[in-house]
Amino acid sequence: MDIVINISSGLCLFVGSFLCLCGGVGMLRFPDFYTRMHAAGVTDTLGSAMILIGLMIISTGFLVFIKLVMILLLGILIGPTTSHVLAKAALHNGLEPLLGHQEEADNKETTSSNP
């Protein structure tokens, strides 16, 4: 029983930290703000959920378990909301997304395009 708990917790922690590292690498390599926000928002939420589930499995007391559940619920609620608010504010203030290669030449010629 002990070894099942340890292995499942280790697996959840491994998946979570792998997702967080992917998010970090994506932030550096993606070309545009909106694509970077995909990387940050998706991997942040799921990675932190996995890590917190891994910690919940090996938690030592009832109060610790409840607090980890609260951090998990808070993270799941706040993560997508922050992505939405950031994207809406950026679009509202005029930051245009980077579109595909064929239309990029058209975008450079006409400055006020809105596909």
Binding site: G24, D44, L68, I71, L74, T111
Partner: protein
Amino acid sequence: MIIAATLAIFVAMILAIIRGIAGPTLYDRILAVNMFGTKTVLLISLLGFVMGRPEFLDIAIVYALINFISVIGVLRYSDSNEFKHTPANKESTEKEP
């Protein structure tokens, strides 16, 4: 395993800071600070387990809330004209090294 997860989170934080310093637009920097805050919450929870003091989870909850409120505040009070992202603005920020 927890120590390996802590190191991974630390590396992700450093990557977020690099994007925060080098981000060409303002919104890249806001996104980087937000990601840094979320990783900090995870780091504090993991450190609490590593050091055997579960009181750190209170700090983790507070920091998650403060991170959220700061990002909402930034986006609510950047509605004025100086934060408008006109194409001329974009070119001038791309020319800077």
